[in-house]
Symmetry: C2
Subunit: 145 residues, 2 copies
């Protein structure tokens, strides 16, 4: 899936964000790699296409995009900020074994208790962790030996 540069540029321009080459490439990366990458993953990957890319630029750009609500900042674990181009509320499951992050549908509003009635909620996150089916399957195979 190739992200249209044009639509990215338009999206940024609509929010008064200068669509510099670096910013466009960072967004393109997020669209094409919806695996909740870390700054380091984004930086390392794009370094090959933009050899002079600075890590500070990646941090700066992600902060700008987060402020514009174009990306969502995930704090599933400390010391590991991740980014998600899908901004609609959904759950994240992190496998403790392989580290992979899975999305899952979540109807958060259905179980919010009345306690938060008088709160203005601007962001909702649901994080689960445990073992994914792939790693569970591996464990089962290990057991049978």
């Amino acid at each position: 899936m190739m992200a249209a540069i044009d639509s990215i540029v338009n999206e940024l321009a609509r929010r008064n964000i200068t669509p510099s080459h670096q910013r466009v490439m960072i967004m393109k990366y997020l669209v094409e790699n919806q695996c909740h990458p870390t700054v380091d993953q984004i930086f390392s990957a794009l370094r090959q296409q933009i050899p002079t890319l600075s890590k500070a630029t990646v941090y700066n750009t992600l902060n700008v995009l987060a402020e514009a609500q174009l990306v969502r900042v995930l704090s599933i674990e400390d010391n590991e900020t991740r980014y998600d181009i899908t901004t609609e509320t959904h759950g994240h499951f992190k496998c403790s074994s392989c580290g992979r992050i899975y999305n899952f549908a979540v109807d958060v509003d259905r179980f919010v208790s009345g306690e938060l009635r008088d709160f203005r909620i601007t962001e909702k996150n649901v994080y689960f962790s445990g073992i994914c089916p792939t790693c569970l399957g591996k464990a089962e195979k290990e057991k049978r030996r």
Copy 2:
């Protein structure tokens, strides 16, 4: 509310954790300050009672307690690990204005979608953020001026 040192010592001993003075005081702090404190908050507060307390000890102790499931590690935002003595699943709401964290009841099990059927879930976290009623009230008062 004064936490019984005896029950803390017993709780640690039951899990084969040496109930050293520092560990007991850290747990006591968490029981008496259920405000999801950070390491720095715990360290600063206890420094007055244990002048030689080392920050590394606080980190070590919290990690040991987390592994023993006596405390829960919260990653509501990056660069801000917090700790909770209440280990049953409940939600956390962080006010973007005052920074306070509120607990709220959450029936997470009721809405886990079929997508996670084959996953082994070991931990569930629900984090919301926004503005709390106190800060909303202040904002309203500001508006009326």
